[in-house]
């Protein structure tokens, strides 16, 4: 997280820690974790933890470990052999089904899903929260969870980020399944934050309540603008997948 600060886990109770590769996810149900497809591509048994801000091994032993018993990549996600060469992050979304239900509590609870109504259409300037254990300005990874707040911006902001030596932004795919956010005092997600939720306040709700508007997907340059998977476009697939692969009571 660029431009962020240390966060209490209670502020992001839906935050899931993926150990390898280091990434994030969002708990959406006591049996399901939503994350980016590129996080779990080729990894059918990811190890996950919840309920802790610190992710040292000693800390993880005290945290709640989540065991996956199914990984469902979006059918339109195009797998490639080498992540470094990937330029198409369209449909970067996946679901992980948990073997056992997560024990909910003050530090572990799911984030809401949007529905397909226009209430959940994001306007530019809408602020969202991101969190993760990924790269910060001066370190490759962090031990303590960090978070920041950043606005939704037009996609051309992301498209026009100057390329650095490694990435030529113009060669990447930009689709309507993506949200561009960032630009406020360098608040941005970065490597290691992938799959984490871009959490936006539920509209027309008196109580402060967040839904997962986006998932950390990719970005041209940390500290500028980032691209997030637009979850609203996948509600039907999410519901269908969860319904079809629901763990029965007997299980």
């Amino acid at each position: 997280i660029f431009g962020g600060i240390k966060a209490n886990i209670g502020s992001f109770p839906w935050q899931v820690f993926f150990q390898t590769p280091r990434a994030g996810g969002a708990l959406i149900d006591d049996h399901w974790v939503l994350t980016a497809a590129h996080v779990v591509e080729g990894n059918s048994n990811p190890i996950m933890y919840m309920g802790t801000t610190r992710v040292h091994n000693a800390d993880l032993e005290k945290a709640q470990m989540l065991i996956a018993d199914g990984v469902f990549l979006h059918p339109d996600w195009k797998p490639v052999g080498d992540l470094e060469t990937r330029k198409n992050f369209d449909n970067d979304i996946a679901l992980v089904r948990l073997k056992d239900p997560v024990k909910l509590g003050p530090n572990v609870s799911p984030i809401c899903l949007p529905d397909s109504s226009s209430d959940y259409d994001l306007e530019f300037g809408t602020l969202g929260l991101i969190s993760g254990w990924g790269r910060i300005e001066r370190r490759r990874i962090v031990v303590e969870l960090r978070g920041t707040k950043l606005p939704v911006v037009p996609m051309k902001k992301c498209e026009s980020v100057e390329s650095d030596s490694r990435i030529d932004t113009r060669t990447f795919s930009f689709t309507d399944n993506m949200i561009c956010a960032g630009g406020e005092k360098g608040s941005d997600s970065c490597e290691g934050d992938s799959g984490g939720a871009f959490a936006v306040q539920v509209p027309n709700e008196k109580k402060t309540k967040f839904y997962v508007a986006g998932l950390v997907s990719w970005g041209p340059k940390c500290g500028t603008y980032g691209i997030y998977t637009k979850v609203k476009n996948y509600i039907s697939w999410i519901e269908k997948t969860m319904q079809e692969h629901r763990i029965s009571d007997q299980d």
């Binding site: 600060i5 502020s11 609870s109 799911p110 406020e184 402060t208 309540k209």
Partner: protein
Amino acid sequence: ETSMYGEILSPNYPQAYPNNVQKIWNITVPDGYGVRLYFTHLDIELSTNCEYDSVKIISGDLVEGVLCGQKSSKNPSSPIVKEYHVPHNSLQVIFESDFSNEERFTGFAAYYVAVDINECTDFEDVPCSHFCNNFIGGYFCSCPPEYFLHDDMKNCGVNCSGNMFTDLAGEITSPNYPSLYPENSRCDYRVFLEKGFQVVVTIKREDFDVEAGDSEGDCPDSLLFTAGGQQFGPYCGNGFPGQQIIEAKDNVLDIVFQTDETGQKKGWKLRYYGDPMPCPKEFTANSVQDPVKAKYVYKDTVKITCLEGFEVVEGRVSSTFFYSTCQSNGQWSNSNLKCKPVDCGSPEPIKNGKADDTENTLFGTVIQYTCNEPYYYMKTEGTGEYRCAANGTWMNKVLGMELPQCVAVCGVPSQPFAGTQR
């Protein structure tokens, strides 16, 4: 040993009897005879009340006589000086002398013979209920026409037993009614109707006249009814003392009329008829009956339908109704079947929630499902209140049989993200 006659002589007779002597003779003659004892000689020391020497004649516990002194016959043609007649077949004679006899006394000579007794007249108690006939050595009883001699060979009665009545209605009277009923009799009657009919007896008060009881109510003559383990009576007195209508509740009624040897009266007359056996109007609780009648009798069939929420369980099959038929014994068939409240059983468990822990799961019971708050909430509509319905399932007003769903509360951080203020 018995003997028809014999001689009794004092010791040493006709010589003087010795001092200080006692001698006893036990005389026994055959049954049916009495004893005639007579003295032909008597010479015993005379004393006041025969205290010194004496001869005593004892019959049973009764001293018939004590003799002493000298006696001579008052009849010149008879040698008998003293004579005793005993109406029993045994007699005891005791001779006693004391320590001194200043003179010489020769004692006594006596003889006994068995004599016939008239049992019909000699005793205060009459041995026969009706006719007594004496003969030498005994007697026998006999009866008037239509009477017979009981096994005790003394009492006569009439033969009035073994009467069976099978017609659905009829009349029964005591022997000779309205003339005097016979004494010493026991008359048995049985009314035997086909199954399904109970015997009902009616007796008019004026049709009953039986020797009245004593102050304690014991009837010397009595009329008694028994049926199906019940007893009515015994009745006696002038005018019937019981209920005018007696319902036997059974198809068999036994009547016993018992008389003693005295006090004959007019007797009794009764009517009977067969009434279809009634069955009780009580049915299992929580049910309705069809048809509804003021009285149910033999062969009536009723459909018993349990009220809503109640059922009849037979083995593994349950139903909401059953049929019951009034049987010949006055009992309903299927009377063991009861309408019991439907049992919905324990409510099904739900994920992330629970139902009230209740032991009562019968019809009408209300239970409450709750979710494991605050992290789960009830997603489905309705209050989570379910009532045990008549069909044996837990029903919610909104969801019906569908169970409530508890889902995780989402999107609510327990702490605000502090670093978001700009």
